[in-house]
């Protein structure tokens, strides 16, 4: 079994926003300020990682023991987490962690919670989270439970990081050009907002609307494809593809 660079794939080859084009609702909706995009990325990272961890644990519980071959004629392994209700269970897990993140946000950053609005609860049904559920099927080749868990954690972390990079990049462009500011975390005497002289007086307001988000997203995806094509041509990633 070749060991795939799952973390790097999540950031580059399978980048959720720029390449796979999933989970676009938050990418277009909450990227008009950098801080919104950053909190959204944290939220997705949190939910994705914990959901995937629990799912991997449940998945690993039913994995056959590799140390001894299955006895001939033995009944097939019954899964703790069988295929059909898997969606239901996964949705339950992601809902739990989303609710937890929502409460954390309400407790420690109430203004941010108001600013993100409905998009935090919607994390539970984010396409990215659901897409991962579908991928980790029980037909995966048997692995030791620890490896399954470790791999899925790396994968979730890679996807979360790829999502975060794209969201922050989009929001940087949109906020810088659309409002002439960069809003970050307030710390000490720093109020949290950097104003860019010249741009903040006559910003390209159109970029702060939803259409501006889609425009930046389109350019990001196009840029990613261009990079991918150039890389493929040079054959650098050919070995990494399975």
């Amino acid at each position: 079994m070749t060991r795939r660079p799952v973390f790097r794939d999540g950031v580059l080859r399978d980048n959720p926003v720029a390449v796979m084009l999933v989970g676009l609702c938050p990418a277009a909706a909450v990227t008009s300020r950098v801080i919104d995009a950053a909190w959204m990325s944290v939220g997705l990272f949190f939910v994705l990682l914990l959901t995937r961890l629990c799912q991997a644990i449940l998945h690993a519980l039913r994995a056959p023991d590799l140390s001894e071959p299955p006895a001939p004629g033995a009944p097939p392994q019954t899964s703790v987490f069988p295929l059909r209700p898997r969606w239901l269970g996964s949705l339950l897990l992601s809902s739990c962690f989303t609710a937890a993140f929502e409460l954390i946000l309400l407790a420690f950053a109430p203004s941010e919670s108001a600013s993100l609005g409905i998009y935090v609860p919607l994390l539970a049904v984010n396409c990215l989270v659901l897409e991962r559920f579908q991928r980790s099927g029980p037909e995966d080749e048997p692995e030791s439970p620890v490896r399954v868990i470790a791999r899925s954690l790396r994968e979730a972390a890679g996807l979360g990081a790829g999502f975060a990079i794209c969201l922050v990049a989009i929001s940087l462009v949109r906020e810088l050009l659309g409002s002439g500011t960069i809003t970050l975390f307030a710390a000490g005497s720093f109020g949290g907002t950097i104003e860019v002289g010249g741009l903040s007086s006559v910003p390209v307001r159109a970029l702060t609307y939803g259409g501006g988000g889609l425009l930046c997203l389109g350019y990001l995806a196009g840029f990613a494809r261009l990079l991918g094509r150039r890389k493929r041509r040079s054959g650098a990633t050919e070995a990494g593809r399975s």
């Binding site: 006559v202 910003p203 390209v204 307001r205 159109a206 970029l207 609307y209 425009l215 350019y219 196009g222």
Partner: protein
């Protein structure tokens, strides 16, 4: 005839697949003729508003050419020679108010060329009109700069310049006594020119009084385009002159603009009086056409863009219908300019759908169809 068989080496025999079309039309030639036909109205704008208008037009065209060159260099396919960038820049400039800060036309042209046209693959592959895309982004982004109107050259310098359409809208929101468009403008003290009052007065006393008719003030200004407005949209007669040239050279077809204007006029006449508290059929369609927006400019020079409008004649009729209705609604109930740029952009989105429904059938299919 015997010679034909003797000479086995024909001098010039071109072997090519169908269609075998010969003619001098090329996209560069079409672009240049559109640009030429836009010139009278643009020159009128420069005459009316002076140097600022010339600056806006110049910056728009220069930025458009620069963007085309940059995008061409980036894609290693420089298409600056086809003249379409000049048309785009000219249209952007003509849709701007004359007092607009110069970064607005520059940004609008750049956006139109780079984002709306070259990002999709250049001329012929853009699904929306580049000039209109730039103008709509400017309207959304710099609404303040996009409403810096200048008074016409004959007006006193103390006059605050507002296009008639905008003045009417302001009067409506201010709760002025309701009535017809020109009556409301007169009640709000709209400054028509001195020439207008003398011409209209002369016509009223010497001609129309014989029939017992009476023209309200402002008719002459509106007719010749001696009004505040966008640089290229004020003079309807000069725009129609350019359009007539294009029609006679068969660069554009009449179906689309005529349907567009007819449907818009019908809607304006039937429903136009409703927002002003009047009944049905009391709207003023002529005022709506002549009031210095981009309607005539858009109908003849932008809606007819061969890349973004439907291909068949039936499709163009349907397209004109959609544009007329959209323009009326966006102008009456919208807040973004005079409704024409947004209406045509929305129409651009519908264009592929219209093409799909009006695709001509092959003769065999026609025969098979019942009835």
């Amino acid at each position: 005839m015997a010679d034909v068989h003797q000479d086995t080496r024909p001098a010039s025999l071109v072997v090519s697949p169908a269609p075998h079309v010969t003619g001098s039309a090329s996209s560069a030639r079409l672009s240049w003729s559109v640009a030429f036909c836009l010139l009278p109205a643009a020159a009128w704008g420069v005459f009316l508003f002076g140097v600022p208008a010339l600056g806006v037009l110049g910056v728009a065209v220069a930025a458009s050419l620069a963007a085309e060159l940059l995008a061409g260099l980036a894609a290693r396919r420089v298409t600056i020679g086809d003249g379409s960038a000049i048309v785009t820049g000219l249209l952007v400039g003509m849709l701007m108010p004359p007092g607009v800060p110069l970064y607005v036309p520059a940004a609008a042209s750049g956006f139109g060329i780079i984002v709306a046209k070259q990002s999709f693959g250049g001329l012929g592959r853009n699904w929306m009109n580049p000039a209109l895309a730039g103008v709509v982004v400017a309207l959304l982004s710099w609404s303040d700069g996009m409403s810096r109107w200048l008074p016409v050259r004959s007006a006193a310098p103390t006059v605050t310049a507002v296009p008639p359409l905008e003045a009417l809208r302001n009067a409506l929101t201010a709760g002025a006594p309701r009535g017809g468009a020109l009556e409301m403008l007169r009640a709000s003290g709209y400054p028509w020119s001195g020439m207008d009052s003398s011409v209209v007065g002369w016509v009223n006393t010497h001609v129309l009084s014989l029939f017992g008719w009476h023209l309200p003030g402002g008719c002459f200004d509106l007719l010749v385009g001696n009004i505040s407005g966008t640089i290229g949209g004020t003079s309807v007669p000069l725009l129609l002159l350019g359009a007539a040239l294009l029609l006679s050279r068969r660069v554009i077809r009449w179906q689309l603009p005529v349907t567009y204007l007819a449907i818009f006029c019908l809607a304006a006449q039937v429903f136009g009086g409703l927002p002003a508290g009047g009944g049905w059929f009391v709207g003023n369609m002529l005022f709506q056409v002549f009031s210095g927006g981009g309607l005539v400019l858009g109908a003849f020079f932008m809606a007819t863009d061969p890349v973004t409008s439907p291909l068949t004649r039936t499709g163009q009729l349907a397209y004109g219908l959609c544009l007329g209705v959209l323009t009326f609604f966006l102008r009456t109930f919208g807040s973004l300019g005079d409704g024409v740029p947004l209406a045509i952009l929305l129409g651009n989105c519908l264009s592929p759908l219209i093409d799909r429904f009006t695709r001509p059938a092959f003769p065999t299919q026609r025969k098979a169809a019942p009835g």
